[in-house]
Amino acid sequence: MAEVAAPTPRLFVRKTSGLIRTIGIWGALAFGVHCISLSSSGIITFQWVPSLWPGASIIGILTVSALFCAMHAYTYSQIGAAAPRAGADYTLASRTLHPLLAFPASFALVLFSGLVAGSLIAWIPTVALPAFLQASGILYDQAWAVRFAEWSATPTGIVVIGTVGVLVTLFSLMFPTRTVVKVLGLGLILGLAAWAVILLSFATGSRDTFVANWNRFVPNGPFERVLPVARENGIEFTRGFGTTTLAGLIMGFWVFYGYYIPTFFAGEVKEAPRTLLWGAWGSLFTTWFVFALGAFLLLRHVPQDWIAAEGYLYTVGPERFDTFPFVTFYASMMQPNVLFFLIMAVGFIYTLINLAQTYFFYCSRIIFAWAFDRIVPERLAYVHPETGSPRVAVLLVAILAELGVLASAYYSVLFVQFNFVFYAAITMVVPIVAAIVYPYRKRELWEAGAGHVRSMIGGIPTMTLVGIGTLLFVLWLVASVFIYPAVGLGENVDTVLLTFGAIAAAGVVVFLVARWYRMSREGIDIMATFQEIPPA
């Protein structure tokens, strides 16, 4: 028998030290799922989305949305892979384009993310608590719960409960990151358990049970009257593939925003190209699957038009016609079981806090990136020596979140979030353009990049091609808030545009003041940090 030669060695390595930071795909997926949110996105998928697009398929909207978001996720994973460090989007854009474009965009994103964190916390007193308390009042005859639910949604209730929520989130982020991750991990289990109960209730129930229980628990909004009353109040059903596609094109960020969050702490992920992509796609697929399965099971019992009408009446219906368009109410009404009810309540409220935690977490990482570039005081990047928690940055985000709670109390929860989709999309334009031109402006770095960063299709970098598609998608999202007032700025166009202009201008001023200060006091030109250094 011929001797088989040993394989030729590919690399000789000597004994040296050195490692890289790592968050694996599972960690990235957990962050993504929490930032998408099994609770708030779960609720709007069955309430607000069908009521906005009566006649369009819920599963169709989710699918089209997820497909476009997957393209966006790809671009952001490449941004993180090309600049694997804290605040990767800001870092890549400031080095590839110009810091005077990148910093104001990043500044506006953090400011509005902080406000949105507050408005998401305000979901607890305005949506989550009333949904559960009213349901428990109705299902288990608890009058106090109904009274508390009514108070919770008043401005005073929102401010009190919202402030407690902000303080709880702030307090939780004072602990080491690994504790925060454990808290998030527990939230993922609780959130999935809540959805398991919902899916189980839908899977084991029947149409007759749904109708009978609905009429039993909601006598002032009977099942049969929902569609006629909605029609009387102006609902119009537009069916067809076109409507569903259009809705999907618009609702992506509303439902799935958050899957790309690990890009903001790309410096802490292992094998950035792979982890960021699969973490983002994984969280997108997980939430799509959970919501789509929920919709599929629910639609076996209830027509889609009815779900749309119930959601519609919640917003514009007559005062004496009771509405409960919450997926959690549908499930707890179909299977009135105290244990199931508690699992859903705990899971949904806990994951709303988790959602705020992810916003606090990513904002603090972006602030780190600014402090590293010495645009903001190093004090903002202070890390507690024992816990490793970024206390000053987190406190700053908490202040913004409290403002978000106040805005939600005295305007509406959606007021802040409406604006956020506009702000998030418009600030993304800068890093996405940076990603498109990166292979050309930073050729050497792009060629040295790992994995899918330097892949090409037909001789053109994939990063550029997908980036162009993503740019068109976010530009469409910006345009859609003007074209479709229901998901847009409504009557607040001038206010929102002025606010955005003022914040972007404030970002420019902060950058210029920082540059002037460092130059005059320290003899340092911070522009040096953005400069390319050619080899000698």
């Binding site: 060695p9 000789f12 991750v181 050619p534």
Partner: protein, 329 residues
């Protein structure tokens, strides 16, 4: 706008100097050449390299049927012409590795003979280091910018004679030297133990002894600059992933567990002496700054494998750190 900022000079001059510090170049030709370029670009008056000069791996470029093939970062690279071969070798040098053109049998023989492999490493490392030192002389001498160098824990002892024999660079390991008329530079490449037991890893007892010995020679702590490869323990600039007994990275709940990898002796030394500035490398991912009393400690981090230079620009008055900036490019 440019004119407005130009009036506020960032040029070193009256009463202050500018240092350019880097560490952990690990053989990356691109990072080293960028360092020389950065010295000119940023008008540095002193360049300091804080250890870990040499690369970690040799990539065998194997001759097969008139072609050459190699594996770089898991990708198979195949070249045919001399020009392509030169480009491949350049690419390998950019990321800090060394190339070795050989036959499959030679590669297998090297794999089976650790001593021969070590000799090859020594030959490759020292050859590149000599090239770098010559290049530094060509670029920095006309600018009048001194280059201060020490080895790090990953550098084989064989590099010491190469550094000592350098024409322009000054090897200052285990020494206290005058940087200029105001500042002393105190340098040390030794580090506390790592899990890999590298050439200059030592137990803390050794670190306490050598650190104590060096710091006792400092004349004026208020103006002293430490150039210690290893960072002080329990700081932001010494955080790295924790490892288990199989040298695998520890995760809990999907999250990386970090630990301090700096030296307790260096931390105590800084706390007691309170020098003006303390410059460190070693932990590539722990880029940043940490204040220990009046002492500013910096670690510029390293991304040598991407051909990126990470460095610190520090403006120094005689008794005060005027300003600093971590740069990368």
């Amino acid at each position: 706008m440019k004119r407005f900022f130009a009036r506020r000079s960032d040029r070193p001059g009256a009463g202050w100097i500018r240092l350019l510090y880097t560490a952990d170049l690990h053989g990356s030709n691109a990072a080293f050449r960028k360092l020389l370029s950065a010295a000119k670009l940023h008008r540095a008056q002193h360049v300091i390299i804080g250890g870990d000069l040499t690369g970690k791996a040799i990539v065998p470029i194997v001759k097969v049927d008139g072609r050459h093939e190699a594996w770089l970062f898991g990708n198979r690279e195949e070249v045919e012409t001399d020009a392509e071969l030169r480009a491949l070798r350049e690419k390998i040098g950019t990321v800090g590795f060394y190339d070795h053109v050989c036959t499959p049998d030679e590669a297998r023989a090297l794999d089976a003979d650790p001593q021969a492999l070590h000799r090859l490493f020594v030959e490759k490392m020292n050859a590149r280091l000599r090239e770098w030192l010559d290049l530094a002389g060509e670029h920095l001498e006309p600018l009048g910018v001194p280059l201060w160098v020490i080895p790090g824990n990953d550098d084989d002892p064989s590099v010491d004679p190469v550094l000592e024999a350098a024409g322009y660079a000054r090897m200052v390991d285990h020494r206290v030297v005058e940087l200029d008329e105001h500042h002393e530079l105190v340098s040390l490449g030794d580090t506390s133990m790592t899990p890999w037991a590298c050439p200059r890893d030592y137990p803390e007892e050794h670190m306490y002894r050598v650190v104590g010995d060096l710091l006792s020679k400092v004349r004026d702590p208020d103006t002293a600059i430490l150039n210690f490869h290893c960072p002080p323990r329990d700081t932001k600039i010494d955080q790295c992933p924790a490892l288990n007994e199989r040298l695998e990275i520890v995760h809990r709940g999907g999250q990386l567990v970090t630990t301090s990898a700096g030296s307790a002796a260096i931390r105590e030394g800084i706390e007691q002496l309170q020098p003006l500035l303390s410059l460190h490398g070693h932990i590539h991912e722990a880029r940043g700054s940490h204040q220990i009393g009046r002492t500013l400690a910096l670690n510029p981090g390293s991304e040598y494998a991407e051909g990126i230079l990470k460095a610190a620009i520090v403006n120094l008055e005689p008794r005060r750190v005027k300003g600093y900036l971590l740069i990368s490019g």
